[in-house]
Symmetry: C3
Subunit: 512 residues, 3 copies
């Protein structure tokens, strides 16, 4: 206990004064690493094409917080504690200094595997028993677990060093768990989630593998303006959602790692809200969300598997998960198999909706909706939504032409006097995405910015409002209403700018 | 079972390949229609003045989805399934193809009438027993139910063909239940809800019968811009709230049809939120809503009748329903008996608040508030709110004059060069409502649009913020704050437009 | 009972006809006032520096509703009921006329002290037993409670006239309870809350005692524009949050006065939301809030004391209270001991973050976060947040220079033709706070207003988004995204205004 207290003291007196007395620490001999699960091997496959800093790697260096968003590429164990510890020691020490995570773990399934083993077959969580047995069989087949032996618990060492290890050298072996680490046991879920990378677009509307959670970090670090921004602390904010490619705790938060948590709509809210993808708001204000709020929170059982949501779960409306995990009646962590409009509506999609690739996915949606609605109703709604989206797209496309013409004519406000280039690798263009995150002098001009909001905020909200069946989302409040406002602003500016330009010309001629 | 499976197969292979093998279907002889409830007769009364497509009927044709928002006028049974079925057959088949609605119904009161009959008198839902008996007596008096017989359940056929029927011909008799269909049994609630149509304004401030749920479809289809818009899929979004005149499932969602659901504030949220009537947001951020969130969700019993909310329900704050269903101590589905400012503040109301019609309604509000506050406090608040609303109205009215003057002077941006007329039957006018849903060229100009938002969004939010006692709703966040912003925008544009016009004139004179 | 009925009748027939028949009322002799608690004495200390109407007192008169927000200074008992009543009589009469508050009280701890006394030591509310005994000991020491006697209940008279009194003269003694009234029993909590007034800033960044709940009324009435606005009914809206200095029911709503209520995040929502301090939204969309929503509402026990939230409370994420009540491991009603950026980011804070005063508070935050995170993670986040805030501040400061320059050059729209002074005591200045609540002619101009929103809304939201770890709060939705938009608007206007001014000059020269 004295040693423990000493560690604690050293930690608490602050980073600057960390003096590590290794001889005071208990030394636990690591179990033979050959017996332990070969995390490195699995990692190789998973990380073969991990983007790390991405193709603009030479333009930015990670700041300290980013090691937590992408531990695969950036995490370094702290050098402030030296020693080899087993799980009990982890718990004892961290209970004193960071009790929150220890309490959460102690109440989690990971810490209570016997509770899972003793589930009765009328318990909605009974399926977890089979899952545990399957995981143990898998670990046995890999030699991580001795034949016939059960996992005692999933403890600190298993996730922070490697499953099956019994101790770790804190200053060298400590890891922040990444997808592959979770995947070491949760093989099926990991494989499902990774399968999102197989997304392929028929006419190259979006890059292969996108959109997906499985490649969201790549999308993030390869977005030109985010790579180029000098405000690294603001830019890393995008990482805080775009890290699902790296970790599983975006949905199953540490250290509870609850399946029930991730089945609730709020689990999606941190990332799926706001000006350019207000899925959460649209869901919550739709009748689906209202039913969840008024009846679901009381009566639905979120411990049941998604496939049983209507029967054992008593759901009377869908959640995010029931629609987006489902594909042809099966549920998996591959959420992109029914993606159609994807990030945002474009002519390249609008013009190809009658192609089989799109038609088949639409039919898959009809089947999803038909769990609770008639197929005719579902089809009527999806047709309505598609047409409504195209109506919004037409407004945006007309505005785009106006902005492009102003740019081509050199008439955007300040275009010839005060339009600095955006930071590399971003390139100047009218109404471009960079203008949502960068502003200097008259770049972007207000017209550029307004058009950027039109296609990147309002048109997307219009589409999300329609697809989530929230009337305010695509009529008077968001979507259409905002598109009308932006269009009005652009037309107003266009007329005013051109009238002034003409007046200037007249005055110039008079001055000659 | 083979027949069932065949139907299922045909349905599942998609709309294009629906080939109906009627001979495979079980043929159930319909019960004598004279014994069944005379839905047609009731409908006649209810539908005598049903607006259908409204007075602009020649300008638009319903799109497929609209048959679900207004089944009375537009619904057609699908031609894809031919046969006569009883309720058990409905359940069996739809359990296979649309299990969601069947599960919801199976857990509903409709499917479990015996549960209602066996309620003990200390159960807060005990009142439902009497209600059921009353309904049965009513049905007996109409000959729908044999004397002395009880309803077995309220099943598919009762609502989708007519109460008391035991089977229906799917391709001809299937109905989407409308208000009158629910009203066949729920006679009292139907009558209460219909009574909203009796609303009368003392000085014609608003058309008779408005605002109300009972005439919201009429309001919808007779709104000029919505009738005239070419984007029918966007326009139908308005229907998705404005259909309470047609159906009851806006509040009591299908197929649970829960009273408890409709008593919760979220039930109102889908329609009563957003930029032009943010009642839900104001409630939730008021102390009333906070008490509901922090204490109500755990401790209040939403199964009790509204009249017992303080006693058996343990409510310690009001919900939407407790205030808006109440009038002089009684609760009914007529929600408009205390309406005063109605849709939005206008001088015609502001100038008449001291008239008895308005004073009496204000006193009715004081009485409502006095359930939990002193009458003096309630009066002080309502006086504050009225005066605060008038202060907002004054700002909007001043801005309106500026916009009108610009229009009269022909100075709105693009007014003489690029101001196409809005689509018929909408007519051009400065700052008009159409500009929130239509934009082409410079109609609306930014000033028009800004004024439209002022009176149709911000002033209403100001009023709703005050009346729902949410301080942010009428100070720094919404309401007043937005009115100040819009006024500033309009004044800025006014000065700039007029200065430029003067400059143009000078240059023109110089050019002579 | 007849007398009771008479009172009731008189009250119900409306304010204009209040005729008070005192002889019909039961006359209850007041207990010797020397035995009662000396509220007046305590009040003296508390109210010595109570601001009342503040330093701009000569500019405004309270409107009726304000007596409820600041009863200390403005409340007058109603003259409509004359008589001396005991608590039972209060309950009997008010149960008939305002049952809501009576029901809430009857279910409250105040009405059920014996329930507290009989709490078992394994009940999370067991701590309340000791608290009650402590209060009784205190009251005994003051002679309010006889030695060895227990409080029977905390009833109407105790709070509305003075603790220990057994009756009150309604028309003269009735009080709306203020902080000191609650503090008569809740001595410790009152002292903690009052201690916020001791806040001192090292370089005078903010006035002493601010920000705090304990001086929020003073901040309110001494804000120039709020004192000067002629729209008193709008202006009083600010009081509705800025009254915590006067009363405790902003968090512990009447008449339940629940501790559990105030421990929930929604309790803070009415005041801490919206365009200039969206703490609630940021919390709810952060992973902290998501965990509260998905797991906290079901599983956390809000009846436990804050200090036991991780153990007995089962919290797995922080709430508003767990972070903001905590300081160096202890919890109190002094919420400002870790305040650093306070109201909004300014250079005076940004430039001094390395001073010990700020460093120590930052370390206190690291310690708070380290309850559930590693200190290294916490430090990395707080460093990120500080730098991100400064990046936002730089954008705002650059815009500020542009606005100031336009003002100095006399070029703001309408500056020389239509810029009336704001109402006294507000003084004209570019981009000033008054422009968020006042607008007349071209004061503020759009550029002024835009800059005011930048520093008073968007920069604060940027800071709150970062500090509450909500990525959308400081990237694409709010904060940074809005700062970029506002900067763009200001730069656009700056270029357009200056180009037009130059053109005017040219035309003027040509006209000579």
């Amino acid at each position: 206990m004295k040693a423990r207290f000493a560690i604690l003291l050293f930690i608490l007196i602050g980073a600057s004064s960390y003096i590590v007395h290794t001889r005071q620490l208990p030394v636990v001999t690591a179990v033979s690493s050959s017996a332990a699960y070969d995390y490195e091997a699995l990692k190789d496959k998973y990380y073969a094409d991990h983007p790390g800093k991405g193709k603009y790697a030479d333009l930015w260096e990670p700041i300290p917080i980013q090691q937590y968003w992408n531990p695969v590429s950036f995490y370094e164990p702290p050098g402030t504690l030296i020693g080899n510890f087993n799980a009990e020691e982890c718990v004892e020490c961290h209970l004193a200094i960071n009790p929150g995570w220890v309490h959460a773990w102690k109440d989690s399934g990971h810490a209570n595997l016997d509770d899972i083993r003793s589930l009765k077959d009328d318990d909605p969580r009974f399926y977890k028993k089979a899952k545990l047995e399957e995981i143990e069989k898998e670990l046995q087949s890999r030699g991580v677990l001795a034949a016939g032996k059960q996992l005692e618990s999933v403890s600190c060492i298993d996730c922070h060093a490697g499953v099956g290890k019994t101790s770790m050298q804190h200053e060298t072996e400590l890891k922040m768990p990444d997808r592959a680490m979770c995947g070491a046991c949760h093989v099926q879920e990991f494989a499902e989630a990774e399968a999102e990378k197989e997304q392929k677009w028929p006419q190259g509307q979006w890059p292969d593998g996108h959109p997906s959670h499985a490649m969201d970090w790549k999308a993030n670090v390869e977005t030109a303006i985010w790579a180029g921004m000098s405000q690294r602390e603001v830019a890393q904010g995008c990482d805080m959602c775009h890290y699902q490619q790296n970790k599983c705790d975006g949905c199953h938060t540490r250290h509870t790692f609850s399946a029930a948590e991730a089945r609730k709509p709020e689990a999606c809210a941190t990332c799926h809200n706001g000006v350019d993808h207000n899925e959460f708001e649209n869901y919550m204000l739709s009748k689906h969300g209202v039913i969840y709020e008024t009846m679901g929170k009381d009566k639905w059982n979120f411990e049941v598997q998604l496939k049983d949501h209507l029967t054992e779960g008593n759901y009377t409306a869908p959640t995010c998960a029931t629609c987006h995990f489902e594909y042809k009646g099966e549920y998996s962590h591959n959420l992109v198999r029914k993606v159609r409009w994807a990030f945002n509506p474009t002519p390249a999609i609008a013009d190809n909706l009658d192609q089989p690739w799109f038609e088949e996915r639409k039919q898959a949606w009809v089947d999803s909706c038909a769990q609770c609605h008639s197929a005719r109703f579902a089809k009527a709604w999806l047709d309505t939504a598609d047409k409504g989206i195209i109506q919004g797209l037409e407004v945006e496309q007309e505005a785009k032409q106006i902005v492009q013409k102003l740019y081509d004519d050199g008439l955007l406000v300040g275009q010839k006097t005060n339009r600095p280039a955006p930071p590399e690798p971003a390139e100047d263009a009218p109404g471009d995405f960079f203008g949502l995150f960068f502003a200097q002098g008259n770049n972007p001009s207000l017209v550029d910015r307004t058009h950027a909001e039109m296609w990147e905020h309002d048109l997307i909200k219009h589409y999300k409002g329609l697809m989530h069946v929230n009337p305010g989302g695509f009529t008077y409040s968001e979507g259409w209403a905002r598109l009308m406002r932006r269009y009005t602003e652009i037309q107003d500016q266009n007329t005013q700018i051109r009238e002034l330009a003409e007046l200037k010309k007249k005055v110039e001629e008079l001055s000659k």
